[in-house]
């Protein structure tokens, strides 16, 4: 009996507590990106802006491990500094979209009726729009570059996020603890933000991480189209755009930022999926 208990306990604990190796790697990648974003100036071997016109674009060498771009700028340093725009924009998009979506989703899911109907029709409308195309048109017409793109993505991401929050709230609404709160005369605001919100927050957090990945890819895409950051800014999407002309002389200048976009997005997706699975199991 004792032997049986000792043998089964670790088996039950393993799936809940052990972090899969892929998730560990994903966390390491994200940690590297975060470190580069905040401490890029100390880590990068050179300034991302220093030009060396006399050498122009060169392949990787001992002096420049990722080579240089058309203006002779160190590609590695630019990739390291590019982590900042890769991080800050998606964080703002994910946080902003979910902040708005949380309020709308809570109201829609809990109040129902006209409020629910109004919000969900708006969500339906937004989901019917081709998101990337809307972003391209708005940023192209309005201008403003990176932060306009961030603002547009917040609005576009809010709609699907609202639907997620609403469905989580609908799951909570018929539960006894809500009925009990209502019976005790607790205000709607308190029920929404003190009782329901903490219970749907884990799911929201899991989706915030996924939003980050989507925002990263979208912002990189807009920068690639010349609609994101200002020319010259170290930004992975912009580097893809600028360095495509030197593909044959220094392919690393194109492949490295591309790899960083993919690695970061995949890592955040894995982390988001893992968090979602973990929270929903709890």
């Amino acid at each position: 009996m004792t032997e049986h208990v000792e043998a089964t306990q670790p088996k039950e604990r393993a799936p809940r507590d052990a972090i899969p190796p892929a998730i560990v790697i994903a966390f390491i990648v994200v940690a590297i990106v975060v470190i580069c974003a905040f401490f890029g100036g100390s880590i990068a071997p050179d300034s991302p802006f220093t030009q060396r016109l006399e050498i122009g674009d060169t392949p990787p060498s001992a002096e420049f491990p990722a080579g240089t771009d058309l203006l002779g700028r160190d590609v590695l340093s630019r990739v390291i500094h590019g982590a900042w725009t890769a991080l800050i924009g998606p964080v703002v998009v994910a946080a902003g979209a979910f902040a708005i979506a949380t309020v709308l989703g809570l109201l829609s899911g809990y109040l129902g009726g006209v409020v629910d109907s109004g919000i969900m029709r708006w969500v339906d409308f937004m989901l019917a729009l081709p998101g990337p195309l809307v972003a391209i048109v708005v940023v192209g017409v309005v201008g403003g570059g990176y932060w306009t793109a961030v603002a547009v993505l917040i609005i576009l991401f809010t709609a699907p996020d609202t639907r997620i929050v609403r469905s989580a709230v609908l799951e909570q609404r018929p539960r006894p603890y809500i009925d009990a709160a209502r019976a005790l005369g607790v205000s709607k605001t308190r029920i929404l933000f003190v009782h329901i919100l903490p219970n749907v927050l884990p799911i929201i957090l899991a989706y915030v991480v996924l939003d980050f990945a989507f925002a990263l890819v979208n912002l990189a895409g807009l920068s690639f189209l010349g609609l994101g950051v200002e020319p010259g800014t170290p930004d992975w999407g912009r580097m893809l755009f600028e360095n495509r002309t030197i593909l044959f002389t220094n392919p690393v200048a194109l492949l490295l930022p591309a790899a960083m976009v993919i690695l970061t997005a995949v890592s955040m997706n894995l982390i988001g999926d893992w968090l979602f699975a973990r929270f929903t199991r709890q």
């Binding site: 802006f49 220093t50 030009q51 016109l53 006399e54 050498i55 122009g56 674009d57 058309l70 203006l71 002779g72 010349g226 200002e230 020319p231 010259g232 495509r244 002309t245 593909l247 044959f248 002389t249």
Partner: protein, 529 residues
């Protein structure tokens, strides 16, 4: 049975074979080509040249429209719609029109069409971007059944090139009157007397031309030419690699090696006579301060940009005119010696800082400079200058806009600040650039003088250079202009690039030169190899 072939028979047979083979090759060279697909970095919203004076519109419309004269392969003036012309006196030109020239709709070209076309360009109400080419014209009259006389207000040497330039394109008088607003749009495709007829136009996207059987001159080999806009350089390169296009103009010099590596295209290069420059609006702060302008001039690493962007296929510009533009006045070597005597503002950030310190804006300032995303160099040049200016305390933001927006902004002539301009010559005359960029008369809306540079001494010298035909007199006048404008840092010349084009190696094009956008290139030695 063995055939017995004598030496004489062998020689005769070989000779006959060679003759037949050469005939066959010649015949194949004359073979019509059903369709040619040509890419351009952009296609304008209109095909009406007075409202879209750009090299890409020129590359298309030079096949549809003609002027009385044309530029030859050697850039000299040649007869076109006018079979002959003469300068009667210093201010009078007479053009004798060729008989039997018709527009694309079959209607005959008359002297009235020539007069209407020139008067349209001259009329301020037309708002033509090419009006400056007619600023010296007093009257244009039909002086005979097939004769047009142009009288100038004063002698102007440069006017001789106008009838060969896009500005001299001849329109149907009837069409100008019927569609004053819509001409150039898909609803009113411009008629011309050229070898091709414009049959389809999707603004900013596609243009389709069809060869005219009734063209008066050399018959086109290509029956149909389809132009498409492919702004992205790498996309154009891949399109050529996949055989989706047969050719394109305006290759970025830095991409030449990539194009050559494709294997299925030939790259043709020629001196472009073009110039890249920064203009600075002297009518408003901060560029009304000469020290600011000099600080900017010292902050441009011309040699570095030529190496990095042009891979040394070009020359750092020490003045506005490429040396070859002085043809007929001074040799390139003489020009270079003269340029060496001018203030040239070689890249030196210490001198730039010193100049800025002497200015009213010693603490620096902020400026936003728009650049065309279609141009292969502009954004990179601006990034480079921006980084250098940052080091002396000037914040320069680079704004990337599409080609149409950039050009429209320049011609709007409002709040110009600092602008980047790439200009390719209208004709090889040493007074061309200085007149466009330094004459007070062009410091207006639709004018090219983006620096709003106004100097009476320069205007007087330009008058001499434009009016006198004596090379020595013109040389002295232009030297005066260049001494003043370089001393004043009226604008910042950057580099003189070579030009390059790519063409499928199935085809040849022998007539490629600096004026590819101003000659009917598809009938200038174009055909199957």
């Amino acid at each position: 049975m063995h055939a017995h072939i004598t030496r004489r028979l062998f020689v005769a047979g070989s000779t006959a074979s060679v003759v037949m083979l050469s005939r066959a090759i010649r015949a194949s060279a004359q073979e019509p080509i059903e369709e040619v697909r040509w890419a351009l970095p952009s296609i304008n919203d209109t095909m009406f040249v007075p409202r879209a004076w750009s090299t890409y519109v020129g590359a298309i419309m030079s096949l549809v429209q003609e002027g009385p004269l044309a530029f030859g392969d050697d850039l000299s003036l040649q007869p076109a719609v006018a079979e002959s012309w003469k300068q009667v006196d210093d201010t009078t030109y007479v053009y004798t029109l060729r008989q039997g020239v018709t527009f694309g709709d079959g209607s005959p070209l008359t002297p009235d069409d020539v007069v209407a076309s020139f008067l349209y360009q001259m009329d301020p109400k037309s708002g033509s971007q090419l009006a400056a080419f007619f600023s010296s014209v007093d009257t244009v009259t039909a002086s005979g059944d097939n004769e047009v006389t142009v009288k100038l207000t004063a002698p102007n040497v440069q006017f001789q090139y106008t009838p060969a330039h896009m500005a001299g394109f001849l329109f149907s008088k009837k069409q100008l009157e019927e569609f004053p607003e819509d001409i150039g749009t898909p609803d009113a495709l411009p008629l011309g007397t050229g070898p091709y007829r414009l049959v389809e136009f999707t603004p900013a996207d596609t243009v389709v031309l069809e060869a005219r059987d009734d063209y008066w001159g050399t018959k086109p080999v290509a029956k149909r030419i389809i132009f498409s806009a492919i702004p992205d350089r790498q996309t154009r390169l891949l399109a050529a690699k996949n055989g989706d296009i047969d050719g394109t103009f305006d290759l970025a010099i830095s991409d030449i090696d990539q194009w050559k590596a494709l294997g299925n295209v030939d790259v043709i290069t020629a001196p472009s006579l073009g110039v890249f420059m920064l203009t600075m609006d002297q009518s408003a702060p901060p560029f009304d301060d000469i020290h600011v302008r000099k600080a900017i001039a010292y902050s441009v690493d011309r040699e570095g940009l030529v190496k990095a962007l042009l891979k040394s296929n070009g020359e750092p510009a020490t003045a506005l005119n490429p040396p070859e533009m002085w043809a007929g006045i001074m040799s390139p070597d003489e020009v270079r010696k003269f340029y060496a005597t001018l203030p040239s503002y070689r890249f030196d950030l210490d001198k730039a800082r010193a100049e800025l310190a002497q200015s009213k804006h010693a603490g620096g300032f902020e400026v936003t400079v728009p650049g065309s995303s279609a141009d292969p160099y502009m954004i990179n040049i601006l990034q480079s200058v921006s980084e250098n200016l940052k080091q002396i305390g000037i914040t320069m933001k680079v704004q990337e806009v599409d080609a149409n927006q950039w050009l429209a902004g320049y011609f709007r002539h409002e709040d110009l600040g600092m602008q980047i301009m790439a200009y390719y010559p209208d004709f090889a005359d040493a007074a061309n650039y200085p007149y466009l960029f330094y004459a007070s008369a062009n410091a207006v809306k639709d004018g090219m003088n983006g620096s709003n540079f106004k100097n009476s001494e320069v205007d007087k010298a330009l008058d001499v250079a434009n009016q006198k035909s004596d090379p020595k007199e013109r040389a002295e006048a232009l030297k005066t202009v260049f001494r003043i404008v370089n001393e004043d840092a009226a604008l910042v010349p950057i580099f003189w690039p070579d030009s390059a084009m790519a063409i499928s190696n199935e085809y040849k094009l022998t007539g490629y030169n600096a004026f590819w956008y101003n000659v009917p290139w598809a009938i200038r030695g174009f055909g199957l190899k």
